[in-house]
Symmetry: C2
Subunit: 152 residues, 2 copies
DNA sequence: GAACCTATGTCAGAATGCTGACATGAGTCA
DNA sequence: TGACTCATGTCAGCATTCTGACATAGGTTC
């Protein structure tokens, strides 16, 4: 077993495992959000707005890990369906601050409960210590991958 | 801070952090693979074939976390470009076992080195203990999310 | 004030991946 | 043998997201 020095051993690769976990999480979220007529990006956008009202399209895009073009398309649909509102004109600069409507907030509540149940299931078999360990580990990975350490 | 009971707190959510880490990993991989003219799915397919020669299209799809239709399109391109070979007729059933060509193997070697460097960077700031902890934690998450525990 | 850089919103086109559907081969079971 | 179930490969159409490009607003520097 265990590769003859060449290649990435998928059986022991933390990168592959990370991708696998993320894929499983996404699938589980899609499964519970589908009955609510909501996609993961859709949900992410509403959740971001609930916690940080007035975010711009570009900021939402970064928070949901998509491009600002993609987020803009989504926002247009959400606005059309009455889940969010944006001023017709930018109060300052070009930034259009977005906010949830009561309808959007109601819609989010169900979705949020569903997502919380998925996250709880994900952590069900982990000990308290493991859950505590996971946080700094993932943060370190993110920090290192983004190259925040580069020549300042 | 810390949400008033409602919603998922993105600041402390392991699910969000997992998505963030996965996104950062994907970006980092795309960055190093782009100069080699290779996408992440493209690379994943070749790496899988190097470790498990003779996999079918459907098996490769599951290993690369895409649908079998998507993998089939990719395989057609890889076959056209001489990186993999598939028998014209299925030796048994409908399964077409796929194998790397020498050209595919050479192409993979460079990509694999690049990906290994990304993975090394990802783990650079983690202690030995943390790296050891990460493995069972991620595996537990995957196992729980897939519902492998359900009523047997 | 002018030049410069950065970030934002937006439009257009293209790539990528997915869902739905179908026929076929293999295994199971009565 | 025949009916049933399941997995595979494949075709077609659609959805989602991305890349490229542009104009504009704000801040910075000289």
């Amino acid at each position: 077993m265990s590769q003859k020095g060449v290649g990435v051993d998928l059986e022991t690769s933390l990168g592959y495992l990370l991708k696998e976990a993320s894929s499983a999480l996404r699938s589980a979220m899609e499964e519970v959000l589908r009955p609510l007529g909501m996609s993961v990006t859709h949900y992410s956008c509403l959740e971001l707005l609930a916690q940080r009202p007035g975010l711009s399209s570009s900021e939402l895009a970064r928070g949901a890990f998509v491009t600002r073009q993609t987020m803009n398309v989504l926002l247009q649909a959400l606005e059309r369906d009455g889940y969010v509102t944006r001023p017709a004109e930018a109060p300052v600069g070009k930034v259009l601050p977005t906010r949830l409507t009561p309808s959007g907030r109601r819609s989010l509540e169900k979705a949020s409960a569903a997502v919380r149940s998925v996250e709880a299931r994900m952590l069900a078999d982990l000990t308290e210590d493991e859950q505590s360990d996971a946080f700094p580990i993932l943060q370190s990975m993110i920090h290192s991958l983004r190259g925040d350490n580069e020549r300042a």
